[in-house]
Point group: D5
Chain length 157, copies 10
């Protein structure tokens, strides 16, 4: 594909050669506290698998630890690992949540992505200001109203 070929090999394949486990392996620490951790406004660049056009925006990731925490920059790396592959935004959101779930087995996890799709901006309907938001909530982020409220209030301005 022309678009990816134009990128240097190191960038192009960053997303394909790694699993979430490899990315975080040496950065998981024991931690008994259970307060919410959020990394907000992680830049995200991906390619829509239907149109081969970029979509990009911000990802907000949060979790409540259950014995293990992960280095903060690893949350950004997990976002990158999945975003650098061909994607639809809906699935990307779920996969990030799933990966954090598997790596940390937290009490709960939440992921929100807010993106602009060049396919919507440049072609056809030409809606130039619209944004697509997708959210994936698991564990206490899905089941507990207080936790969900706390996450949405802090993560999404």
């Amino acid at each position: 594909m022309q678009l990816l070929r134009a990128q240097p090999p190191a960038v192009r394949q960053r997303g394909y050669g790694q699993t979430a486990e490899e990315v975080v392996a040496d950065a998981v620490f024991e931690e008994n506290r259970r307060s919410m951790v959020i990394v907000r406004d992680i830049e995200l660049y991906s390619l829509c698998e239907h149109h081969m056009l970029p979509f990009f925006g911000k990802c907000h990731v949060g979790y409540i630890p259950n014995g293990k925490i992960v280095g903060l920059s690893k949350l950004s790396r997990i976002v990158d690992v999945f975003a650098r592959r061909l994607k639809v935004q809906e699935r990307l959101t779920d996969q990030i949540a799933e990966a954090i779930d598997e790596v940390l087995s937290p009490e709960g996890v939440g992921v929100v992505i807010e993106a602009e799709h060049l396919c919507m901006m440049m072609r056809g309907v030409e809606k130039q200001n619209s944004r697509t938001l997708t959210s994936a909530l698991r564990g206490s982020f899905r089941d507990d109203a207080n936790t969900r409220e706390e996450f949405l209030r802090l993560a999404h301005r």
Copy 2:
């Protein structure tokens, strides 16, 4: 009618020749994940059926899939299909929600329209800054407080 006649035929009839099913037909995909999808700030232009004067603004559309998702730009297209006909904003909001409901049979759907009406800005009462908001919530967006809260918080800044 003069106003519509002044537009090129292609634009004028875009709204009348199509159903929601035709618009989305080839862009519905199987998907088992059930996370919320929102397209926010879709530009919307319509004509008030009482005064033949434009109203325009933004439409926010969200749904939780139930086995099927639709290409994101198709949500904008559905908005266009209904907006390009003579309308009142209240019915337009409901029709967009209904169309998505029929095409995707989602767990729930929500539509919010925030518009300025030239009939209010140019004539009579001359309230130049007022905005009209209408919302239509169906399924879990109507019945589940958490889902409704998540939609309103993410869709409406």
Copy 3:
């Protein structure tokens, strides 16, 4: 009264010669849908009945129809009908809600007024930045937490 006398007669008496029913009479339509309708940021000018000094600001009006809707600009007109009389803001808020209740018998109605009072800005305590907010909630807007939340979130930025 000097202040009103300085206005052209047409404006001065606009508020006194009309009832809410007269204003909306020919603009009530049958409608079976029950989604919320809000007109936000309606400019409002009134005269405080205690100090004969103007107060002005914005009024947000919302309702959920119960078989009848009203032309959007008529909601602004109802606000005008009551605001143009000598008023206290608390009663003005309630009267607007009451008038909509009587004319449309909706499932619920909500009115919020946010105003600056020249009597507070120019005299005595001289608190130049304070705003007065009053709200009147009826039917499902008062009794149903979800409806109230939806109204306040959409109407008040």
Copy 4:
């Protein structure tokens, strides 16, 4: 024309039955001071004479008196007198400046209009966020760099 016919007669003909002289006749006062006067953010609604679609926005008007001043609200009225006729924005801007020039013979006059054109927002190129600015500067507003600078800095935020 349908659009204007849909308006009540009083509004429709407001622009055609009046000259700038009639509008301001009884509101011109002797004044020997020569400081700049600006009315900023005057709402403006007009109809593009090529597409019969509305354009609307804000008009900023300034002048330096030369023996005569005019009631402030008359400057808004002059804007209305010309805007209510079929127009192109370029000519509208010049005509407002010209009318003020004739009525007041000021030392200088400046007019800036910043508008959105529905013909650009709804049709063809579909550039939904673009604004059109036109300016007309006369007398010292055109010839004196200091005066021009003072006007543009104060009028246009």
Copy 5:
């Protein structure tokens, strides 16, 4: 004390010679409506009783009447009566709520103060951007989740 001595006597003693009852006595009116009333962004200047340094900011006051309302500017006056004495912000907040409670016996009352303390800005820890918020909620403002939510959403932007 030097700081107060530098003020003209009329200001210095304004806070000490008056009770809340005296301030509002002739401005309490019968009113059977029970909608919420809020005065937001009342400027507030006080002196910290520990450091003799000013703190200042904004006070938001709300209540739901229970048969009696008070002139709006009197709510500002009550804030002044207590703020002009030596204070800690926590107690000041409670005393304002208590005074309104006693004067009006409302269904509920809420007070929020958001202030900057010169003692924190100029001395020791030198945290130049921090703000102190205190809230006092009574009656239905404390016990009813809907009322509390309505107050906080409207009063605190």
Copy 6:
């Protein structure tokens, strides 16, 4: 006149019983430095002499001393002395500049007023967002491009 009569006598007559010289008499100090002094955003309330309706907004005052400076709060007092009389905004602006010129004989003086007129907001043309700006520049503020630029840049955001 009713409006003024509704104010307590002390406020009503504040503007009439004083000259600028009386206001500043004991607050003029010798000072040999010649740097610009600006007091920005002075609140201003006045009554339009044509319509007996309030206009209000902000006044920015600047001067470059020429041997004498005046207490900063006196500049606000001078604004009050003239604003509390019946006025047109154009003359008010000039009178404030003139008064400072007479009291301090500065190298130059500049005054800008940015106001909303209730007569434009409530009546007739109903242009609810427009602002009126007037400026009066004297001495080096009028003649020297650098000084004028410095004043306008610092005083007017």
Copy 7:
């Protein structure tokens, strides 16, 4: 090239099959007035000819007519005609200015483009917030300080 091939043919070739003259041919009008005309914030999407990655942003176009004006939406069309070809931003800016110069022979013309380049956001240096601005000024926009100042102040917020 994959990216363009993924677009529907109508869009893909829009840029290549047209000259500026064809685009504007029937929309040039005689006009003897010489006031500045600006269309601001025209959305722009293009492809960097070095990296085959999109760049997008806003284009501001202004000119002073010299006997001829052009329909406002045609200025947007000219931007599109050149943007839809493979480009570097520096040359695109100049070509738009040149095309307007040829079609209208105006007294002067100015073009400013402010864009984000995906090649800078996604690859290598990863400077995610930087914007590239290019400007092309011709005739009086280049040679006359007042004209240049007027254009930059009005076009670029």
Copy 8:
């Protein structure tokens, strides 16, 4: 370590030589009122214990007293005592909450930290705009939905 050695000794060791009890000892007062107290936007500078690179941002602290209050500036001091040691943000948040819990035995306590980490901005993933938020809620701030809501709404804009 070079970074700390470059600081003057007084700053470097401020965090190590003190316990929370020592910091607040003489500033705890009896107080029977139970209204919420929040100090918002306390600047915070710390060093990430994994990368030896600074992280910095803002800390919001709130509690509901249970018989004792503490001088407001002491809350800032407690933040400093823990921030000046090598830290991970998750633990820092909990330790501040714990320290306040021990010193005041309040009805509840809440701490939110929003920080930028130079390790995420300068190295590796290079996500230059992301922020990390951590929260620690104890007592009624964790268990009571109303209290939690009140804290999050007032503390976090």
Copy 9:
């Protein structure tokens, strides 16, 4: 004086025991480049010598070196040295400029202070939103229009 006595001795006398030369002595470096250096938004706290009430705000300092530069934090220290003494803002602005002039003999120096005066906020005229700006320009900052423009544009947002 009570207010100063309430501060710890180290703070109270910081301003009196030091000259600008002592503050910067060991932080002046040889530097042959002549580009402008600005430190913007330096917090400033001082005491008005007429009313013994605080004034506070921000100071912007700039200079063009002429062979010598000074450590950036020393510019803040110089501001502190003069601000901590009893002051009028006009003289404080000049003294800071003078001190930098003496210590560095730069090509030019500029100082702007923007402050709020509690004496204007709490007493008498009660103009709660006004700000006082003073500027002192020396050397090329006073004499060269380009340099002055560059300083004001970069220092004052």
Copy 10:
């Protein structure tokens, strides 16, 4: 040095192993147009050579070509090459301007850096909100008032 050692070798030495010529060598293109090119808001991270503490912020770079242009991302790379070495901000600004001057021999070049210094935020004077701006202007950016004005207006918001 500990801080740099904590970074991966590739990052640490990026600044030292490269000259500006090496960075841009293969990305200089012939170009005869002479319009201004600006890259704004390039993130910048550096280490203060006096305190070994980071400073970071944004760099704006502009030039007018004189026969040669350079790939836009190379301007960011040049900023990185110099920023990654131990620096004072004044010299860094000049070196970036000098490097562009040498590589492109443009008609003129301008560089503005706006940074926060942790040494000012964390230590000693503790001025937490101040920013340091430095500018370096060469060729027509220094000598021509129009060019300087155009650069400052477009580059610095």
